[in-house]
Symmetry: C2
Subunit: 545 residues, 2 copies
């Protein structure tokens, strides 16, 4: 599809854009205990040790021997490499053995990792064992870890000596430049923001910053790779905050250079040891490459890149449009993973139909801006035909909601995914869209989102339909719920009712700093007035009346 010369050129472009990582030294702020508590999130809570136990400064004074351990809290979520001096007290007549456990959450520190029964590789869990032949030594854990807490256990010294710790710090790495981020407070036209909105914004940006490495990673603890679907959301937040356009550009070129033989963009790519395509294909992700490219060009003004990668975008549109039948309906070929959301019972045809429309509509805009007016017109018409088809075949007139697939109305599955994507695709607009989303809100049988990725699109749809109050409530309730449970970065998986939910049969394997969860800052910073105090108060009082 694309010649190897072109691919190599794209790869060179991507590599030329690889950012230098910013290093920042962070010290732990306190020594803590992790206590079992039935009422705490995941049943473990972090408790500061009393002042007289000495805090971080006392580490150097204390001596640690066989089986002794302590837990450090760095006060914030970090991605980087741990360093410390290990000093002897006594005659070092044996190697020192340490284990380090790095935790994004308290539970990761407290729960044993083994025996491990998760579906993903055990290697993601962040525990390291060190054998140190001589002391004193400056120790640097070369593995890049993602954590707020670290538990250090002295497995053993010897009867002749114990050890002291000094100069513990994390060399934090990120390509995000906080200097470029406008303070949220300046955005509200003299008004201020409610405390929870400020906190949600901060946690969003921290989540994004931690994922911003030499690509936009999905999670700095686990997966650590670049996914199209996550990239789109990260890029949107990035345009409103760190404004690192080159990092988005690099990622777009990586996907383009590593596309499959037939031009299909793979769902994810790996950077190391050399850039390579992942073997996962997700149809909705491929489709949204088009939107990601358009939004990049709009935000950065870099239409040259858009022009250079237009063929890649167009190829994704051709691929997804290839699954649209003569009635204008997307039909699942059964050979692809269609993600939409983790929810197992969710039937995805309608949502995917909406994604395809969004992709084609973005492609039409892109073609128009690039001067391909004939193509623009063609894709625009196709999108419009699909909107009509949706209204004709996917809408249930009795329930006044979209079904998950063409179906007898009485047997239809109703889901948040379907309604959100129909709104985002412009199948229904304005008053009709508002009515749809309000009907959905009072449909308890509707299949709800299972995770942040779909919640993002639901909030987006609500704002698209001008349902400010509902969007705000959902954002404050869902992401605010994570903050209430102690999140200082947003999570890959969050269901308020199921704290141990995991797609991987291991909730400690979940990523607790996950890119697709970082979008509240995008909404807040895109519509600052909506989230400002005055408006929040106004909407609340309207809600009460």
């Amino acid at each position: 599809m694309f010649s190897s010369e072109v691919r190599e050129k794209w790869l060179r472009t991507a590599e030329s854009l690889k950012p230098e990582l910013r290093m920042h030294r962070v010290e732990p702020v306190r020594v803590v205990a992790i206590r079992h508590n039935e009422r705490a999130f995941q049943k473990w809570e972090v408790e500061a040790l009393p002042e007289d136990s000495g805090g971080v400064d006392s580490l150097t004074a204390k001596q640690w021997g066989r089986g002794e351990s302590f837990v450090l809290d760095f006060g914030e979520y970090l991605v980087g490499r741990l360093e410390f001096d290990l000093l002897p007290a006594g005659t070092v007549d044996a190697p020192t053995r340490l284990t380090l456990v790095f935790g994004e959450t308290a539970a990761e520190i407290a729960e044993p990792f083994d025996p491990y029964c998760g579906l993903l590789g055990r290697g993601w869990l962040q525990d390291e064992t060190l054998t140190l032949e001589t002391l004193p030594r400056r120790i640097r854990v070369e593995r890049r870890c993602a954590f707020r807490y670290v538990k250090i256990t002295v497995v053993d010294t010897s009867p002749a000596f114990s050890v002291r710790f000094s100069g513990v710090m994390c060399e934090q790495v990120s390509s995000a430049d906080w200097g470029g981020v406008a303070p949220l407070s300046r955005m509200a036209d003299g008004d201020i923001f409610p405390a929870d909105i400020l906190e949600i914004d901060k946690v969003s940006l921290r989540t994004l910053a931690c994922c911003m490495q030499t690509v936009f990673e999905d999670g700095p603890k686990r997966d650590r790779r670049l996914w199209v679907g996550d990239l789109r959301l990260q890029a949107l937040v990035n345009y409103k905050s760190f404004q690192n356009y080159d990092l988005v550009k690099r990622c777009l070129y990586l996907f383009a250079a590593l596309a499959k033989e037939d031009g299909e963009v793979t769902a994810c790519v790996f950077e190391k040891p050399l850039p390579q395509a992942g073997h996962t294909n997700i149809l909705d992700y491929s489709a949204l490459f088009v939107n990601t490219l358009l939004e990049y060009a709009e935000a950065s003004g870099d239409w040259r890149t858009a022009a250079e990668l237009w063929q890649v975008a167009k190829r994704q549109m051709e691929i997804v449009f290839g699954y649209v039948n003569s009635n204008g309906l997307f039909v699942d070929p059964g050979t692809w993973w269609i993600f939409i959301d983790w929810q197992e019972e969710l039937r995805k045809q309608t949502a995917m139909h909406g994604v395809v429309i969004c992709s084609l509509a973005a492609g039409a805009l892109l073609a128009e801006r690039l001067g391909f007016s004939g193509e623009a017109e063609q894709w625009s018409q196709r999108a419009e035909a699909m909107r009509r088809a949706a209204n004709e075949h996917l809408f249930c007139p009795q329930r006044k909601l979209f079904m998950s697939e063409p179906q007898e109305c009485s047997k239809a599955q109703i889901s948040w995914a379907s309604q959100a994507w129909m709104v985002l695709a412009g199948v229904v607009r304005d008053a009709e869209a508002r009515k749809l989303m309000r009907t959905l809100a009072v449909s308890p049988d509707a299949v709800r989102p299972a995770g942040p990725y779909l919640y993002h699109y639901v909030v987006d749809a609500l704002l698209y339909a001008n349902l400010e109050e509902e969007a705000m409530k959902l954002l404050r309730g869902y992401w605010g719920g994570m903050v209430e449970r102690g999140a200082d970065t947003f999570w890959e998986v969050y269901d308020p009712e199921h704290p141990f939910l995991s797609p991987y049969n291991s909730y400690i394997m979940n990523s607790y700093c996950h890119a697709w969860s970082c979008t509240p800052a995008y909404f807040i910073r895109r519509f600052p007035k909506t989230f400002s105090r005055k408006n929040v108060h106004k909407l609340q009082s309207r809600g009460r009346s």
Copy 2:
């Protein structure tokens, strides 16, 4: 006692003699299984896997995933660093986690290390856990390990990939130069040696070579430090084989430079991170510093070093002689560790009395060679007075054996340690010495040696008394017993009746390549005719007649 200028000069001399280590790449020879077998030494035996399972070459072809493991046999005992290529099969979408267990013996590979209840530091046990963020990778385990077997377990990859191993090798390190070792076969004046003698010699030299690093280590797996008592024995073998005089010299200067304030040589010193004295003091070891210095000068002809360190040697003599009372008897002050042997029930006064005589006698010789004839005479007379005292106070005329301390004969403890040291000290000589050792041999109540260190002095005493046959039997029986049990280096602890014996409450913590056990080669190479086939046959037929 010694000025800091002098100490610093000695330390500089020691450092200037630090050898460059020889590196040698060794590949594993086979893939093996470790099987439980009640009749095997320590109940584990090594079994070669059948040819069709592929051997070492198949490692590269096979793919290994979660929980899979294999055991490599390097065919000989090695000290060094393991290296291998870890290659991916599939898409590397997670870190790879490996554990490596290095074993001197089969039991170390098979027995779990944890929970660990040993008395010494758990860090000595050689297991390493690696988390590898990307593949392919050349892995080098920076910890220096001592092993013949290594078990590699793939704790996990991920469902998307497995791993292959290639280029497994050990970068072996030693300061021993095998090129300088005369083949034993040339030493027998046209005769040849029995197979077991050849094997015992080979195992002895391998033991020594593995302990020869930048100092003479006592054991390359555990302790890894320089002890006076071990040094003396290593040096004796070294003079007959590798002839690395500078390494002995370096060790002598280290002990001298790091002697305690009062001039006492500590039992051991550490090299890293900077040379420093150990806090262990062993009186018999301090005493034998004198012998070690004399033997070094005699072997190397380097009497300048002997002259420079004479004050250190003399100080040890003064210290030990300080515990000799007016009757000429050594009296245990109770403030020292007197080692002699691990045997718990052993009472050590007589043996230590013999050690002191040996020390003073060596000092007298040293003084004479250095031209201090007055001092030589004085120390010689003191030694002679102690011999008389031993005959007067320590000999039991009824049993015709030495008691372990001045005692009523009927209540006396009889031990191999006491008789051996009385012979070595020249308290009895020639026919009397032979009678003593033969009487001992038919005294079943005599406390036997517990380990190789004392067995060395017993063999030495037998040869000293011209009891060729008995010396040979003991050497072939004791060290040959280790060979029969699979040793390819000689052990720190060996009691044929107690395979799980350990001074550390953990037999896998024992060192299975231990310097003090390497002396058969010294005896064989010092008296090649004695150990040659003709003589062995002659002695055996005499034994039968």
